[in-house]
């Protein structure tokens, strides 16, 4: 699948996330300074689509988002849950082209 432009970088406040809908898939898109990361938006512990609304943290050097429901941390680069080795969530390729934020979902 090709890159999908979801928004302009200015649509995401620095160090926050937004949710995007790509072919009915909910994706959490995060902006850390000017770098973009993309994860599944669904929090596997609550099954609610909320990860885009979590706080971005660095835990011992790893960039993570904290789920706003029960506060588990998921790494932005790999989707790995820090609290539970057996849990990880989908992680997508993300980039900026000029001002555009682009996501690629591999099928």
């Amino acid at each position: 699948m090709s890159w999908t432009t979801v928004c302009s970088i200015d649509d995401i406040l620095p160090n926050t996330g937004v949710a995007a809908l790509i072919e009915e898939m909910q994706v959490a898109v995060f902006r850390v300074d000017d770098t973009i990361y993309a994860l599944a938006n669904k929090d596997p512990f609550s099954n609610a689509n909320v990860l885009s609304r979590g706080i971005i943290c660095s835990i011992k050097g790893t960039l993570v988002v904290a789920s706003p429901i029960y506060k588990q941390h998921f790494s932005l680069e790999a989707g790995q849950c820090l609290e539970d080795d057996s849990v990880s969530i989908a992680c997508y390729e993300a980039r900026t082209e000029g001002n555009s934020v682009q996501i690629r979902i591999a099928h």
Binding site: V6, L13, L21, Q26, S46, N49, R53, C57, K71
Partner: protein
């Protein structure tokens, strides 16, 4: 038949109960059949804090018997029954109900009874003693139709009784035969200052008054006539003229009693009949009655030890030093307070401005401390007591022990290292320094841990500071470093970060991180910083530089629920809402199909709103006149109220109006944790103000202010901070209290826990807020004024700004709601569908 030894305890007061506890704690209670008989209607309760009953009116709060204690330990406890006869030859006791109880060992813990001087008229109506909960109930009932109350007796208990009468709203007098108050414990200089302080509180003190007779009064029920010709009128009279041992049973069964009463005991607390023990205030040891709780408990432990066949503990007299707070005045007396030891020398320090009196009594050679008197400030009590009890050598200039340290140095004090392991730290519960150190070795890390496992500092609390010092010294010795860093990004406590922000005028998290932190921050430091920045500068919290810091709920100004939807709470200050307002809220709820529930804080909560619905819902609520309820913030939630004097037949002040004023003043204030307040219009307390962080209860004369209460996980009754204050004073105190809490509390620390951890506790807080002891009140006032002046409804600011509203889109690239959010109908409203219901896919309701 059982082959167990039968123990019969006569008298179920604190001392009798301590005896049973000691038997149980020894692990040998299965060797005994234990029966305790008490003539009061309830089991052992804490008489030391009897006056506290007036604040709570709950006998349960004084109860000393843990739930299930009797049944778990197979103890038979009988109340409302009185032993009237002991047959020593057959070892059988008979009660007033005609029941007979056989015993192998009998323990008399019958206590004492109040002495009522035999003046003519002492048995008139409305004459009371101050001893049991029943006495207090009778005094309270009588006070309803009374204006004036008088206490005969200016000793420790008499002043407690006077406080109780004052708290009942009566004009209060204390009448003392001796030339000064607390003549036994306090010397002349201390007595004079104590008198002045008590009179400042509105209690009239009459010393050297010998009551001759009590007759009908002209304006009041009674008139007291004194030997010097003076007279005093009062409606209620409470006698507190000392105690007499309750030794009738001993006399009747021919046990040896003292010349002036008291059952004679030996070091094992045995009476002249070795099968019968006597403990507490009914017992006479070494020709002396011990009228304090701690020696009673020591006797109970010694007797229990002897009964189980150990002889480790004996009773060999007790130190009668005492520290207490009488009507808010610190009073302490140690050892030879009157310098009656031959050759004793005194040092005295008097500060008339601060109303502090301190005296120490030292040996002729100046080497050791014999006694001390402290009035108005007794922080040195623990240290001085240790010097006296352990015969620790005094410094070269003993006066340095009581002189204030003007150069800011810590004063002489006493390093806890100087104390031997046997030094008794908590005299109420007989806990030594060695016991505390052992508990720390076993893993206790906080004063709370030590309280739980050693009971130290759980009775009078006078040793709390010392317990803390022992803890810190021991932890340091063990090489334990207590890490108080907020998180990995900031090597500071919340309080330190607050000061860095305030002093450095730091306005953003990025600036804070750059100057004082490292990394990117996390879900601990970001919301903490956001809260501190808001407390200090009160910017709109969704400014781009602040938005990324906000905790889940603050980020979208609503409370996230388990399915990712939000609940919405419009402010209804004081719980007041117009019919039109209620209809508007109902219409919004209906339009967006929201689940509606009334909250504990007297407002309406609307559940099930999606992110994109929030601005539309708020636009409608704001146009109906509502504003944000800040239910999402660590900030003031509500000020609950009862209906007050406007409608209620009993109300004495307009509690709703006051609640609305307070809620409007403090709304939006960001704090370390959420804050709740309440205002009750009279003493019936329908608003449950004593369970709030700030509770206000109306009195005839103004307001009583309670602080640091809590419902929730660990309930705590609020402490009475100030009485009968006017509105301006109340608001001033609350302003300062809140800002001081905001300044100094830990992250997510409720006011209740903050108070529990505040060294010096309520007194310290009074000094800071009322006396401005830290010199910060002007700052606190100004800081609160800034917050009040810069209040904004965050939702109004949000919906007026299209850029902000865009933040609430469910998807950045699609104008849709999350279709995975589905509900089920239940009791006529929606609720989130469970995973199973989602799979079954029937009767699901989509977002409106």
């Amino acid at each position: 038949m059982t082959d167990k030894q039968r123990l019969l305890i006569v008298g179920n007061g604190p001392v009798g109960h301590q005896f049973i506890e000691s038997i149980v704690e020894s692990g040998q209670s299965d060797q005994f059949d234990i029966t305790v008989i008490g003539e009061e209607p309830r089991p052992a309760y804490d008489r030391v804090h009897l006056t506290a009953w007036f604040e709570t009116r709950e006998a349960d709060s004084l109860n000393m018997v843990k739930e299930g204690f009797y049944s778990n330990n197979n103890i038979t406890a009988l109340s409302n029954e009185k032993v009237t006869e002991i047959d020593r030859a057959n070892k059988v006791a008979t009660t007033d109900k005609g029941e007979k109880y056989a015993y192998d060992k009998l323990i008399l813990s019958t206590g004492s009874f109040p002495f009522v001087p035999p003046v003519p008229g002492h048995d008139r109506q409305n004459c009371f003693v101050y001893r049991t909960i029943e006495d207090l109930e009778a005094i309270t009932a009588a006070a309803k139709n009374a204006k004036v109350g008088a206490v005969v007796g200016g000793g420790l208990l008499g002043l407690e009784a006077a406080k109780a009468i004052k708290d009942l709203g009566l004009k209060t007098h204390v009448i003392e035969f001796a030339p000064r108050l607390m003549a036994v414990q306090v010397d002349e200089g201390g007595g004079a200052l104590l008198r002045r302080k008590i009179e400042d509180l509105g209690v009239s003190v009459h010393t050297q008054k010998n009551t001759q007779q009590i007759i009908d009064g002209n304006d009041c029920i009674h008139k007291l006539q004194f030997a010097d010709g003076a007279e005093l009128e009062t409606d209620i009279l409470v006698f507190s003229a000392g105690i007499r041992p309750q030794d009738a049973l001993a006399r009747q069964s021919d046990l040896e009693v003292g010349e002036r009463g008291g059952i004679v005991i030996n070091d094992n607390c045995q009476t002249s009949d070795p099968a019968i023990y006597a403990i507490g205030e009914c017992a006479l040891w070494g020709g002396r009655i011990y009228g304090l709780i701690a020696p009673g408990w020591d006797m109970a432990r010694a007797a229990a030890d002897h009964v189980i066949g150990s002889s480790e503990k004996t009773f060999t007299g007790a130190d009668m030093s005492t520290k207490l707070k009488l009507m808010g005045v610190d009073v302490a007396s140690i050892g030879d307070a009157h310098a009656s030891t031959p050759g004793a020398k005194c040092y005295t320090f008097i500060d008339e401005k601060a109303e502090v009196y301190k005296k120490i009594v030292v040996t002729e050679d100046g080497q050791h401390l014999l006694g001390a008197v402290l009035i108005g400030e007794a922080n040195d009590y623990g240290t001085l007591l240790q010097f006296a009890l352990n015969k620790i050598e005094l410094p070269e200039h003993p006066e340095s022990m009581i002189l204030p340290a003007l150069d800011g140095s810590a004063g002489v004090g006493l390093g806890v290292d100087a104390l031997p392991d046997v030094a008794q730290i908590c005299s109420c519960n007989n806990v030594s320094k060695g016991d505390l150190c052992a508990a720390v070795q076993d893993g206790a890390m906080t004063v709370g841990d030590l309280k739980a496992c050693t009971k130290a500092a759980t009775t009078c609390g006078g040793c709390t500071a010392l317990v803390g010092q022992v803890l810190n010294a021991e932890l340091t010795k063990m090489g334990v470093e207590v890490n108080t860093d907020l998180c990995e990004h900031f090597p500071y406590t919340r309080q330190e970060i607050y000061h860095l922000v305030r002093v450095g005028e730091i306005k953003s998290f990025d600036e804070l991180l750059e100057k004082h932190g490292s990394g990117h921050g996390c879900e601990i430091c970001k919301p903490t910083a956001a809260s501190i920045l808001a407390s200090c500068w009160n910017d709109y919290i969704l400014e781009p530089k602040h938005a990324a810091l906000q905790d889940t709920n603050d980020r979208f100004l609503a409370n996230m629920q388990k399915n990712g939807t939000y609940s919405v709470v419009p402010r209804m200050a004081g719980g007041e809402v117009t019919p039109d307002g209620l209809i508007a809220v109902g219409q919004v709820a209906k339009k967006y199909n929201l689940y509606t529930k009334i909250t504990g804080g007297q407002r309406v909560d609307l559940f099930g709103a999606t992110l994109d619905q929030l601005p539309r819902i708020w636009e409608e609520l704001i146009s109906a006149g509502f504003e944000s309820g800040h239910a999402y913030g660590k900030s003031l939630r509500t000020v609950k109220s009862c209906v007050g004097s406007t409608w209620c037949r009993y109300g004495v002040q307009d509690s709703v109006g006051k609640a609305i004023d307070l809620e409007n003043r403090y709304k939006g204030l960001r704090s370390p944790h959420k804050l709740k307040m309440a205002v009750s219009g009279c003493t019936r307390e329908c608003a449950e103000a004593q369970s709030k962080d700030v509770g206000v209860i109306a009195t005839e004369k103004g307001w009583n202010l309670y602080l640091c209460g809590n419902g929730g996980m660990k309930p705590r009754h609020a402490d009475l901070f100030a009485s009968d204050i006017d509105t301006d004073t109340m608001v001033k105190y609350i302003d300062r209290f809140l800002m001081f809490y905001v300044r100094t509390a830990d992250r997510l620390q409720r006011t209740s826990v903050w108070m529990e951890n505040l060294e010096g506790g309520l007194d310290y807080l009074r000094k800071v807020i009322i006396d401005d002891s830290l010199g910060i009140c002007a700052d606190l006032d100004a800081e609160m004024a800034h917050v009040v002046d810069t209040y904004q409804c965050e939702w109004k600011t949000t919906i007026e700004n299209p850029e902000k509203v865009k933040q609430f889109r469910s998807f950045v690239n699609a104008d849709k709601s999350d279709k995975e959010i589905v509900f089920i109908q239940e009791r006529g409203q929606i609720r989130p569908a469970t995973e199973a219901e989602k799979i079954a896919d029937s009767d699901l309701i989509a977002v409106a």
